[in-house]
């Protein structure tokens, strides 16, 4: 199956018209994976038997012509629990963990007829921006196998960008959907905090984590968000707001005429590659050409986002990851003489360095005598960051800028330098701190590598981002360019 020639709608038409059966589609998807994944290494586990069984059942039953997701194979990030299918969060700690329930998003997708073909690689517990923190293996960038796919949803991004699958789920705590989407030239949406249930998402930082779709086109992304969004009694931070049919508004009449777009000067500052700046400035001109206005705005506290984030996210992580104690599930050390050893040795053996670093940073920030100076201070700065966005979005429909300061870097280039790695998140982190929707769409190339543009909207206004993303996509051809097989672009 050549997914580069398809989107969800045309695939659905093929299934309804019986030009292809679900079984053939699923087999073709596993063929794609068999061809590409030995080198790309986007997957941690495949779900072949269950996928083929479900495909056969769906072929038997027939495809519902009104359900565009029926029979569509999809990949799921490995920090989203899947009933009966090993879910590791790319950690040794959970190497043999088999969930006994489905995450709400998985349950929803299953009920709509999506076929889960496998679990994708990621940075351990979603901590990282290169997928090099996976305890199992690195994943390659779909465009250049010597470069990182970004992270933490690097496996999902590479799987979609390489054409192994048409769509995948990722999660985003500080940029983990948008940055790998940018690095691989695909569309990634981090929805508003509370838009999608986090029930069954292995918790990293609960006030920031959000699940979202990763696709090749804006419309496919919109279709998937409408499918998985909404209130869930199992996650009481989910909003009861109605979920629009986001894709319904994406058509030949969709326009950005009269829209006001803010381009923060801080997003094009020091540390941002000239090629990336050029792509974003060209995109701003394109929006002007399409009838929108783009003016320079300011987010004065943006530069403090990274510091505030690494305090808040690490503090929440140190608390969330206390549950991994070697008792009820997960890795238990063999080298134990007493109960304390079970805790300490299991955690020491089960967690990788980045996870340990964040647990210690969080434990430090929350510890007696440091709480006010670090955690409380960061939570106050978070308020100021939110206020900055509110001020701009009061009279702008959305904000545009780069996703990341650079295109994908080389594997091994930054992994030993956590500070540099953390600073890469400077343009995505503030969006999580403010709980806003943020989307990455393809906006150009820098020396052959994709460059993503980030669109940031008002709370629960993903609709405007999809419209603006769709109009840009229709007016450009960046999303139509595809990596060569083997990643030798």
């Amino acid at each position: 199956m050549n997914y580069f020639e398809k989107d969800l709608t045309t695939l659905h038409d093929d299934l309804v018209a019986k030009r292809i059966t679900v079984t053939d589609l699923v087999k073709a998807t596993f063929d794609n994976i068999a061809t590409t994944d030995p080198d790309l290494k986007a997957f941690l586990a495949l779900n072949k038997d269950a996928a083929l069984k479900k495909a056969a059942e769906m072929d038997e039953k027939g495809i519902d012509a009104d359900n565009v997701l029926a029979g569509i194979p999809m990949a799921i990030k490995d920090n989203i629990v899947t009933n009966g299918l090993t879910t590791t969060a790319a950690s040794k700690m959970l190497e043999n963990f088999v969930p006994i329930y489905d995450a709400t998003v998985v349950k929803t997708l299953n009920s709509k007829g999506i076929i889960n073909v496998g679990k994708t690689n990621m940075d351990e517990f979603a901590m990282g921006g290169s997928t090099e923190n996976s305890a199992f293996h690195d994943t390659k960038n779909a465009w250049d196998y010597t470069r990182v796919p970004g992270g933490s949803s690097g496996g999902s991004a590479a799987a979609v960008a390489s054409g192994e699958v048409i769509a995948a789920l990722g999660s985003d705590t500080g940029g983990s959907i948008r940055q790998p989407a940018s690095f691989n030239g695909i569309v990634g949406m981090k929805p508003t905090y509370g838009r999608i249930s986090r029930w069954g998402l292995i918790a990293f930082a609960s006030s920031l984590d959000e699940i979202g779709p990763m696709t090749r086109t804006v419309k496919d992304n919109a279709i998937l968000l409408s499918a998985i969004a909404g209130h869930d009694d199992h996650d009481l931070t989910t909003s009861t707001k109605e979920v629009p049919d986001f894709a319904a508004d994406l058509n030949a009449q969709t326009s950005v005429k009269g829209m006001k777009i803010g381009l923060p000067k801080e997003f094009l500052g020091e540390g941002v590659d000239q090629d990336v700046k050029d792509a974003i400035l060209a995109a701003a001109d394109k929006y002007r050409e399409l009838g929108a206005t783009v003016d320079e705005v300011s987010l004065p506290h943006n530069k403090y986002g990274v510091a505030a984030y690494y305090i808040i996210a690490s503090s929440e992580a140190s608390s969330n990851l206390q549950r991994f104690d070697g008792i009820r599930y997960g890795h238990r050390s063999k080298d134990v003489k007493n109960l304390e050893d079970v805790y300490v040795n299991s955690r020491t053996e089960g967690f990788g360095d980045e996870v340990k670093r964040r647990i210690m940073l969080g434990t430090f920030s929350l510890s007696a005598g440091f709480y006010d100076a670090y955690f409380k201070k960061a939570a106050q700065v978070r308020t100021l960051i939110i206020n900055d966005f509110q001020a701009v979005l009061k009279d702008h429909d959305f904000i545009m800028g780069p996703v990341a300061p650079t295109p994908a870097f080389k594997i091994g280039e930054e992994i030993s330098d956590p500070m540099t790695m953390y600073m890469n998140d400077i343009l995505t982190i503030p969006v999580n701190l403010a709980g806003l929707p943020g989307m990455s769409i393809p906006a150009g190339f820098a020396k052959g590598m994709p460059v993503g543009m980030q669109l940031i909207g008002r709370p629960f206004d993903e609709a405007t981002l999809y419209k603006a993303g769709y109009v840009f996509e229709q007016a450009t051809d960046f999303h139509k360019q595809t990596p060569k097989q083997g990643g030798n672009n």
């Binding site: 963990f97 009481l236 020491t348 967690f351 434990t363 500070m419």
Partner: protein
């Protein structure tokens, strides 16, 4: 540059977090954590006098639901994830240090 966190403090933090560090790791993490805490301290430039801290951005407040148990009857599947089990219970080592017998 004055260090912001020393090896004793890192050792203390690691023990609070139930992690154990060998000498090499202690040095390595101390250097890195010190640098990152230096980044944290840039927040001191920001005037936060009178600013309310934000701990969550959800629009839902005090949502109540019935306390109903679901997904019952998976005792065996749950126990299969336990590192050690016996007679339907999770088995743990004795709490008393066996090395001091």
């Amino acid at each position: 540059m004055a260090s912001r966190i020393d090896q004793d403090q890192v050792q203390h933090v690691a023990s609070l977090a139930k992690l154990s560090l060998n000498d090499d790791q202690l040095k390595y993490f101390t250097t890195q954590l010190d640098e990152i805490i230096g980044l944290f301290e840039t927040l001191n430039e920001v005037d936060t006098e009178g600013i309310e801290p934000t701990s969550s951005v959800t629009d839902q407040i005090n949502v109540m639901r019935e306390d109903v148990a679901d997904n019952w009857g998976q005792h065996a599947a749950l126990l299969a994830n336990a590192p050690e089990s016996e007679n339907g219970y999770i088995r743990v080592p004795t709490i008393i240090d066996e090395s001091e017998d």
